[in-house]
Symmetry: C2
DNA sequence: GTGGTTCACTAAATCGATTTAGTAACAGAC
DNA sequence: GTCTGTTACTAAATCGATTTAGTGAACCAC
């Protein structure tokens, strides 16, 4: 980048201003002069310095994304890579890039947002893993950083949201299980501080209530495999053990399925299982996992587009709700065990202790 | 960021230069003046504009990472999230951030690197998925962009490399299988254009040769699940069917295990399987997957550190080889099937057709 | 007391673009 | 011929920091 606008200007025999006008397609230079300028620019291999443009225009030409996740858990979530790819799909059409920050330690999150805001490193951020009572809303407002949230937080937020109707997916899963004859359908939820953890639980409750079934078979976990194991153990140790478990993500479902199998249960003969995410590996489990396929790629694309629109003032301020995810039926769900149809506790059930995994 | 250095200067009653000297700890301002300046800066909440600093210093204060992967495949690789977290671990101690770009379409890769280089968006890049004959080396040299490569490419490269000794992991896996009595040990490799695809195959070959075993049971795949299925199908259809398969990653191993199981083979009684990556879900497969655990977090940390060192001129230019990965023994590997010990083709083997997955 | 040196600080240049204000040339109207 | 208006362009200001050159003042040496 040794070549600057001055080089082009003197090479073309015009002023710097003329080069700028020519490059940006503004009026004020004649046609043949403009062409001559563009030609010499191309010959010299000149690209305007983003740094100079940034300073002059007070824009960073970058969006920010902060991922708050423990380092060793990061690799297990199929959401982020696909989501980021979606964001990139939108950004590559614009002069924007994505600045990624990972907050691995608790408490580092705020520091990350400050780092992005302080020097003016990004023009706006996308908030993922939105929490019910999300302190970041106030933080960003204080920092004066535009944003888009994935899901609408419970606290009043001035930022538009791109929402995924994950309730529809859970509803479909529960209805599928009900149609198979299940009546004791449990839910292993993600951390309930998250909107998506909470909404999935709500959807499970609503679907059960609508069918006149009880909603007490809930176990909260944290979207991790060990958490899924622990929650599954708790559920299966109950006297009124469920015949089906709806998990809030594939990783917990995988871990839960493994736990059930190592404790003598057959999936799906004794226990039906559904996941959420449609992770690649889910298809290749034994049995393959029935799960819910959302579209993180589209989510990322839309979130980036909405943030860009907000930045150049063309966004109307409204939220966007993406199409519902679809239920992917595989081998981990099946008819309710015959002996379990009369929903009486005890009976033929073998006891499963919660000790050990 | 409405407050600038001029605001601080006039508020403290000094010149802009004095503020700059004070902030950066340079000599030229008296002690009490310096303190007064720093105090007013804090009061006003001033942080120097990164944009101005960038222009002045001709630095971007950012590193770049280009991921070339089809969008839908991105979510399945546990490497990148952990690697990126490692990079961040290093960057958060410096005034640097990570700019991430995803090249989803073939051919978009070069465009991504140009986008990062052209405006001076990053000061250097980390090259992942290094290929045997990697055209990016020449490209980056042309663009004048400093870099660090993960693995050393076969073409002469002026860039230092951080290497993972993945050969050691594969060797350990093969030796483990040999100790279990296996003699027909196959390898499902990743695309051989990649250094890591190639080196894993080489390690498998060497370990077999060292034990006096044949190295013809190789099937090339592409690190994807469908690719793993296809390769597995080819191997299992052979008359001298292997009793163990060493896969180049967990996803292919998972898919291969699933394929074998759905075609009537018992893992590990009939077929032992090893993966590579130690993905979270691998522990929860049925049976759990024996695999090789590398440390992508450390890899990212070191790669970023090396690139930063290179940028400020403190790097000695030498490569760095990370400690060897470790073999994680789980249920997918076991003793060779008794009837398979005399390695005679045909016999009791059932035939497995390659049709269908 | 003159010359030299250090110290603390200011004024101004600089990075590379965009943008504003200004100017020269020319055309058309009257 | 003068006035107005448009066109095509240049010169200079600007963004916000760093850095260089320069300026008084104090201090020391001889």
């Amino acid at each position: 980048m040794a070549v600057t606008i001055s080089d082009v200007a003197s090479a073309a025999g015009v002023s710097k201003g003329a080069v700028s006008l020519a490059l940006n397609g503004h009026a004020g230079v004649g046609d043949q002069t403009r062409q001559r300028i563009l030609d010499t620019a191309k010959t010299l291999g000149w690209t305007p310095s983003l740094r100079a443009k940034s300073l002059r225009s007070a824009k960073a030409y970058a969006l920010g994304l902060v991922i708050a996740r423990e380092a060793k858990l990061l690799g297990s979530d199929p959401f982020f890579p696909a989501f980021i790819a979606g964001v990139e799909t939108t950004l590559e059409k614009h002069e924007y890039t994505l600045v990624l920050t990972v907050a691995t330690e608790p408490g580092a999150e705020e520091r990350c947002y400050r780092k992005l805001a302080d020097g003016g490193r990004v023009d706006g951020v996308i908030l993922t893993d939105v929490r019910h009572d999300d302190s970041r809303i106030a933080l960003l407002r204080r920092l004066g950083l535009p944003a888009v949230t994935l899901s609408r937080p419970a606290v009043p937020s001035p930022f538009p949201a791109v929402c995924m109707d994950d309730a529809a997916g859970i509803t479909a899963a529960v209805e599928h299980l009900i149609s198979l004859g299940h009546t004791r359908i449990a839910h292993v939820g993600g951390a309930q501080v998250y909107i998506h953890g909470r909404s999935r639980r709500r959807a499970w409750e609503s679907a059960l209530s609508a069918a006149g079934l009880a909603t007490d078979l809930f176990a909260e976990a944290d979207f991790t495999a060990p958490g899924g194991v622990a929650a599954t153990a708790r559920l299966l140790a109950r006297k009124d053990r469920p015949t089906a478990i709806v998990y809030a993500n594939d990783l917990m479902a995988t871990a839960g399925q493994s736990y059930a199998q190592t404790h003598g249960l057959n999936v799906p003969a004794d226990l039906s299982i559904t996941g959420y995410d449609n992770a690649q590996f889910a298809r290749y489990l034994n049995p393959p996992l029935t799960t819910i396929a959302a579209d993180p790629l589209a989510w990322g694309r839309q979130a980036a587009a909405m943030l860009l629109a907000q930045l150049d003032g063309t966004h109307d301020g409204g939220d966007l709700v993406l199409g519902p995810p679809r239920l992917v039926l595989r081998g981990s769900t099946g008819a309710v065990p015959p002996h379990a149809v009369p929903a009486v506790a005890g009976g033929r059930y073998q006891h499963i202790s919660t000790a050990g995994t």
